[in-house]
């Protein structure tokens, strides 16, 4: 039985999937370069070192969230709670980040713990019950928002220490810290996905759950790890955000989950699971960031900005899927 399924996977699914992955990434990369090219021509302010540094800094938070959600979507799940996890983390980290209270590692660990806990909660409920991830994480989204408001009494928490504010607002060798954090986590997430057994299991679970189960993969364990990981990455995004705006905000992160999911999907992660890469997701996040930055530079009215953004997102994905079917 096991053998049969294995050969079955190898003969039909795997080559098909690798093909899509390769071309998908290529298509979105072309779209990204095209948009950058257009922006460079239209506004001379776009292609400057300082502006590009700012774009990547602005993208970093969404990219971290998108990395986490990419893991989840690859296993065939979804996580809507990450925006709220950002809020909880923001409040928790800020509570421990006042000057002269604790060393800077304490707010980081406290925030991270909050995110991991909420992520693990998602994983636990999803694996123990048969409730779809969409509904479970929708619930956690509301719970998280409520917790953030309870902990902060509905008010922003300010007056944070300089060392904490350095995390998202500092520079190392002229490079803003969020960019360094982004690069490090991009490498870590790529390695996890590509080079580890866990990563292979994620593709297997999302690609064909019965087959994965039959081949002896412990589905629940993989899912548990994936949702916890996603919560952890959301926590890091929350800490970054809090440090960048130097306040803990209970209403931070509203709608962030949608931008993160958009980045993953634009980057070629299939919503049905089994495909996706961190490089694709990173380009997806950069694409969204570049569009928003470019439209601001061109001073496009806010009414039009939203329309343009939506059209470009759909356009990018349509282009991508046309590319796939053609080949």
């Amino acid at each position: 039985m096991e053998n049969l399924l294995k050969t079955d996977r190898n003969s039909t699914q795997k080559p098909y999937k690798t093909r899509i992955r390769g071309i998908g990434r290529y298509g979105i990369f072309i779209a990204f370069m095209l948009i950058c090219l257009v922006l460079s021509v239209v506004t001379p302010k776009f292609l400057t070192v300082s502006n590009l540094l700012i774009v990547v800094t602005q993208v970093s938070i969404n990219a971290l969230l998108a990395f986490g959600v990419t893991f989840v979507i690859i296993t065939g799940g979804i996580d809507l709670s990450i925006g709220s996890i950002v809020a909880v983390t923001s409040v928790v980290a800020a509570m421990f980040a006042h000057p002269d209270s604790y060393p800077v590692i304490v707010p980081i660990l406290a925030g991270l713990a909050a995110g991991l806990l909420l992520g693990a909660f998602n994983g636990l409920v999803i694996t123990k019950s048969k409730v779809p991830p969409f509904i479970v994480t929708l619930g956690t989204m509301t719970i998280g928002r409520g917790l953030a408001l309870i902990l902060s009494k509905g008010r922003p928490i300010s007056n944070l220490s300089d060392s904490f504010n350095f995390i998202g607002g500092g520079q190392l060798a002229g490079i803003p810290t969020p960019i360094i954090i982004l690069i490090v986590l991009f490498i870590v997430c790529s390695v996890v996905l590509k080079k580890t057994v866990l990563g292979r299991y994620m593709y297997a679970v999302g690609g064909n759950e019965p087959a994965a189960r039959a081949s002896g993969i412990q589905l629940n364990k993989v899912k548990m790890v994936v949702y916890t990981l996603c919560g952890g990455l959301a926590a890091l995004a929350g800490i970054l955000l809090t440090s960048r705006i130097t306040t803990g905000q209970p209403n931070a992160g509203v709608g962030f989950e949608l931008d993160a999911i958009a980045a993953a999907i634009i980057g070629g992660t299939s919503t049905t699971g089994g495909t996706g890469t961190m490089t694709g997701t990173l380009i997806g996040a950069l694409l969204i960031g570049v569009i928003s930055n470019g439209l601001d530079l061109m001073n496009v009215t806010s009414y039009y900005q939203q329309v343009v953004m939506g059209i470009i997102i759909i356009g990018a994905v349509v282009l991508d899927s046309l590319n796939q079917t053609k080949n």
Partner: protein, 317 residues
């Protein structure tokens, strides 16, 4: 089977209608004789996720305790539909007065109409509805925009480039604050509105927007008007990071504690104080006056005040 279900449902329905009818008559008799008893006031607030609204609500609660009024406070979570349902439930509970902090100008209007139809006085606090309530307590947002832009105009000597950060497009506060700012801009032809864009009331979004503006306009920007303090604080952060803060004036609205601290530090040049305490206190005071049949003001407009380093002490708690 279906028919049995249907008939039993309708029987229960009719019975409950009948019973509630009975209830109504007895409770209205009761309320007639309970003149000396504790007043009950139902309060529905726009959103308890908003610091200013929380402050108004806290003040209502504080004052209610002083006056010996029983409060039922609920959060409409920015949904006009939810707010209408909450008011309906207040009507069913036969509260003496309703205080509503409307979610929307049009969509929350039916709540006012329903309360008045049930002969329960309703007071709007902070923002308006199309339907006229028994009383309105709040401030005129147009004035706040005017005050903020006037400060910029005077600081710049009537000449320079301004950028404006909007709140959520189409919300009453956004529309009115913009209107006030534009009125002043019209009076100063040499004051140019370089760019305007929404920061959705959000600090992180305001910061990103300011970073992008700095990229495209750089040192051409002389002043920033942010329609709330959160975005203003974001602008201050972006300008400070870019080393431009001492060259650019930033003014915002609301006077939240963070903003007051920033004014003290000199990073934020001014904020405009909207008096949450007064709005809260006056609304519950008016509620009591109405319930006791005393004379009351149909409209109390609490003025905005400009907060700069000079008069800061008054506003710091």
């Amino acid at each position: 089977m279906k028919r049995i279900y249907f008939s039993s449902f309708s029987a229960i329905f009719l019975l409950s209608v009948f019973l509630s009818g009975c209830n109504q008559s007895t409770s209205s008799e009761k309320s007639g004789e309970s003149e000396g008893k504790k007043l009950t006031v139902g309060v529905t607030m726009l959103s308890m996720q908003n610091e200013f609204i929380v402050n108004v609500s806290d003040e209502i609660e504080k004052k209610a305790k002083e006056l010996g009024v029983e409060l039922i406070t609920v959060d409409a979570e920015r949904s006009a539909l939810k707010q209408i349902e909450q008011v309906e439930s207040f009507i069913a509970q036969k509260v003496d007065v309703i205080i509503m902090n409307p979610c929307e100008v049009e969509a929350s209007s039916p709540a006012v109409t329903k309360a008045l139809a049930a002969k329960i006085p309703i007071i709007n606090v902070n923002s308006e509805t199309t339907a006229k309530p028994s009383a309105f307590i709040g401030s005129d947002d147009v004035e706040s925009g005017r005050i903020a832009m006037k400060f910029i105009a005077e600081k710049l000597g009537g000449k320079g480039n301004v950028v404006m950060m909007h709140g959520y497009m189409g919300q009453a506060a956004q529309i009115k604050r913009e209107q006030g700012a534009r009125e002043v801009l019209k009076q100063y032809p040499n004051l140019k509105l370089l760019a305007h864009q929404t920061g959705e009331w959000d600090r992180a979004k305001g910061m990103a927007l300011m970073e992008n503006w700095i990229q495209s306009y750089g040192a051409d920007i002389n002043a920033v008007f942010a329609q709330n303090d959160e975005m203003g604080m974001g602008a201050v952060k972006a300008l400070t990071d870019a080393g431009l803060k001492n060259k650019v004036i930033v003014v915002s609205i609301d006077a939240i504690p963070d903003a007051l601290q920033a004014v003290q530090k000199g990073t934020l040049d001014a904020t405009v104080f909207q008096n949450a305490e007064q709005q809260g206190a006056k609304s519950i005071e008016t509620a009591v006056k109405i319930a006791k049949g005393e004379a009351f003001d149909k409209e109390i407009l609490i003025p905005f005040q400009l907060v700069t380093k000079d008069n800061l002490a008054k506003f710091m708690k």
